[in-house]
């Protein structure tokens, strides 16, 4: 009898896992609170990295590997990153066969653009809505599997908790958000692909439906959180509708320049400080520079020098967004920007095969900590979701044991967090987990969060304690009281674990390159 794989989340990682599991002959139950069209993956703009080398720059997957590890400041599993960067060119070609409308150049080469932290053109893109275009093709492909019965969708269903027998997962419990009915879903493996912990902050560039509640429930059940303090601030975001709106890195990849006013003149501070990569330094560094400069002067992103041809062929979505939401014509005037929370490098602890420490439980996409270490390269998130979903599904189909639930299930679902408590949590997280952190504010934050109840504050506490414990600066984690990095003690993964009473923080070595 074929195995049943439950996938929680129908964004890019979830769809990728669903296609792979169906390919491997497994039955897939695909659970999501909203349709795939609403997933955060459709918001990804800039592109997907792959060393396709279509620009005669002598690029290679090895260089993609080196750039990714360097940006990650040593915290990413090198074997996992090697696998991802080697697979990237084939994955993009596979997406082309699925019908993704990448921008093309020449006869039939995939066009590539410059992106932060990479000297060579390596980012394949479809205008400035690459995520949407990839998702449409993936949804079309999964629709075929739905029609053949290999994939069964549980739309408008939310994850409540796992079905656990000791340390073995044998399915989960979900709730129909339309009827409020609770459904027990037995399965041979569960793959969690539920996105980042954006709900801890409430004002990120991400989707409002990425609440972090699933990660929080898993954390409560004892699943460890890795590198929770590694939170990416995107350098160029704008306040919009009570959250942040992203201005894609593609803007700088296509020639956009950052400046501030100094002595009445435009000061292109990134170009002055970092002559080699300039406006395209990795995101952690660019965000920190903007943050520093912004104390003296407003910081602007100037896209007025980009040609009309490039704007209409490669950045039309971005130009429309700025017009609609900021009332700015990027062709004519610069846009005021500040860093904003964009991506969670940290998340559910997984190994190279995307296994969590709970048997038959896997995680992929932004919800897990893999590939990006202390700082993610732009263009590696779509790649990580696509590749990670595949790896998780392969592992699940090959390794998951068919377990009959023999022990009595104790399914206690904790009550949802109160709106007023989430508001308090959001405020603390925003104030303490900024671009720059220090012990005092972290300790104050911890004290406030201690008084809150529920899963989300518990997860927030794990993030705060991780940030407190890492007494050094590395990648996205900048401690003004410990401004240097300390490889002896902290070239390691931060692991937060909840034992039912307390949160324990430990540091474990990053796997060595085979």
């Amino acid at each position: 009898m074929s195995k049943t794989i439950i996938i929680i989340g129908a964004g890019l990682a979830g769809l990728s896992a669903a296609l792979q599991a169906a390919e491997n002959g497994c039955n897939v139950k695909l659970v999501s609170s909203l349709p795939s069209e609403r997933a955060q993956s459709v918001m990804a703009e800039g592109g997907i990295n792959a060393a396709l080398n279509t620009k005669d720059e002598n690029d290679s997957p090895e260089e993609h590997f080196t750039d990714t590890i360097k940006a990650a400041c040593g915290l990413a599993d090198p074997n996992a990153v090697w696998g991802m960067t080697q697979a990237a060119p084939e994955l993009v070609h596979w997406l082309l066969k699925l019908g993704v409308k990448f921008n093309m150049s020449g006869y039939d080469d995939v066009d590539l653009r410059n992106f932060g932290g990479q000297k060579k053109k390596r980012t394949a893109f479809a205008q400035s809505d690459t995520g949407k275009q990839i998702m449409t093709a993936m949804i079309d492909a999964v629709r075929r599997k739905e029609a053949s019965g290999m994939v069964e969708r549980f739309s408008h269903h939310s994850f409540l908790t796992l079905r656990l027998c000791g340390n073995i997962c044998c399915g989960c419990v979900i709730r129909d958000e339309y009827s409020q009915e609770t459904v027990e879903l037995p399965g041979d493996a569960v793959i969690v692909a539920t996105g980042g912990m954006h709900g801890l902050f409430g004002n990120t560039t991400g989707s409002l439906s990425n609440t972090g509640e699933v990660t929080a429930e898993l954390f409560r059940l004892g699943v460890p959180l890795a590198n929770g303090e590694m939170i990416q601030y995107h350098p160029t975001t704008v306040k919009c509708g009570g959250k942040r709106m992203l201005i894609s890195e593609a803007a700088r990849g296509e020639g956009g320049r950052l400046f501030a006013m100094k002595d009445g003149k435009q000061w292109y501070f990134m170009e002055e400080k970092y002559p080699e990569l300039g406006n395209l330094m990795p995101r952690d560094i660019t965000a920190r520079e903007i943050w520093k400069v912004s104390h003296e002067s407003e910081v602007f992103l100037d896209m007025t020098e980009i040609s009309e041809e490039i704007i209409s062929n490669k950045l039309s979505g971005l130009a429309d967004d700025c017009m609609t939401y900021l009332h700015k014509d990027i062709r004519k005037e610069p846009v005021s920007v500040l860093p904003g929370i964009h991506y969670f490098m940290g998340g559910i602890l997984v190994d190279e095969q995307h296994r969590t420490p709970i048997q038959n439980l896997y995680a992929a996409g932004e919800c897990c900590a893999q590939y990006h270490g202390a700082n993610r390269l732009g263009g590696n998130s779509l790649l990580g979701a696509l590749y990670g979903g595949r790896v998780a599904a392969k592992s699940a189909c090959e390794q998951a044991d068919v377990v009959e639930l023999s022990c009595a299930t104790q399914i206690d679902v904790p009550p949802a967090s109160q709106i007023s408590e989430i508001k308090q949590l959001n405020k603390v997280m925003q104030e303490t987990m900024g671009v720059v952190r220090n012990e005092n504010t972290l300790l104050n934050g911890i004290q406030t969060v201690q008084a809150l109840t529920g899963n989300l504050p518990l997860l927030g506490m794990a993030v705060l304690k991780s940030a407190l414990a890492r007494k050094e600066s590395r990648g996205a984690h900048w401690r003004e009281d410990y401004p240097k990095s300390n490889d002896d003690d902290y070239l390691k993964t931060t692991v937060a674990r909840f034992d039912g009473k307390q949160i324990q923080i430990s540091f474990v070595p990053v796997p060595e390159r085979r």
Binding site: L34, P35, E37, R38, A39, Q40, V42, M43, L96, K97, L98, G99, K101, M104, D108, A126, Q127, D129, K132, Q133, T136, A137, D140, A141, R143, R144, E146, A147, S155, H156, Y178, S207, L208, S209, C240, G241, G242, K243, M245, D321, T324, Y325, H327, I419, S420, K423
Partner: protein, 233 residues
Amino acid sequence: MVYKIRIRRQESQKSDSYWQEFEYDGSKNSSVATVLKELNSRTPLKDNSGNIVTPISWECSCMVRKCGACAMLINERPRLACSTFLHTLKGSTITLEPLSKFPLVRDLIVDRSNLFENLKKLNLWLESEAYMSSRTHEPRYQSARCLMCGCCLEVCPNFSANRTFAGTVAAVNAFRILNEEQESTHLNEISAEYKKKFFEGCGKSLSCHDICPIGLPVEELLVRSNAAAVWGK
């Protein structure tokens, strides 16, 4: 500026609907989604008569016109709450209602499953590798941008959720598949379904063209899909 927000609320399909009013004192540049988000962050949420009421159920995800979740009737016209700004609406009273062509779930949430089911019934997937003609790159790209929000079906005089007619959303999405599929048997299957579920039911009112919240070239995609599926071009 102070706005009066009138919201049609309904706990479930079985219960009766009623109007509830709220006051919103904020920028005229706010989107309707920003207003709803602000209302639901009030603890407690009180209506204009001072009664404490439950948070308003509505669907949202991206807040920047990329996901189609927040489609609703705003002043009786289907739009996305995230990209409808107060200053573009007439007067200082704004009415919010759920889309009327889909089964109601709760408040402003409707069950749009039918949209997705129809694409499955039309066999909209590829069985071959995609044939990527550079000549049709732009319309195929536009076809793949569809948010599946349902605004075009709300204004369609021929669409209702319990009929066979799948509406413009099917024609818009069909184009990329009709253009890229190389497997002729599957192409014929799609064409046959397309005729039944779209072409024969469309009254060509084209009310769908102007309503699309992301400005898709709906008419062009419809003409191109008809040409491919019905006229074999």
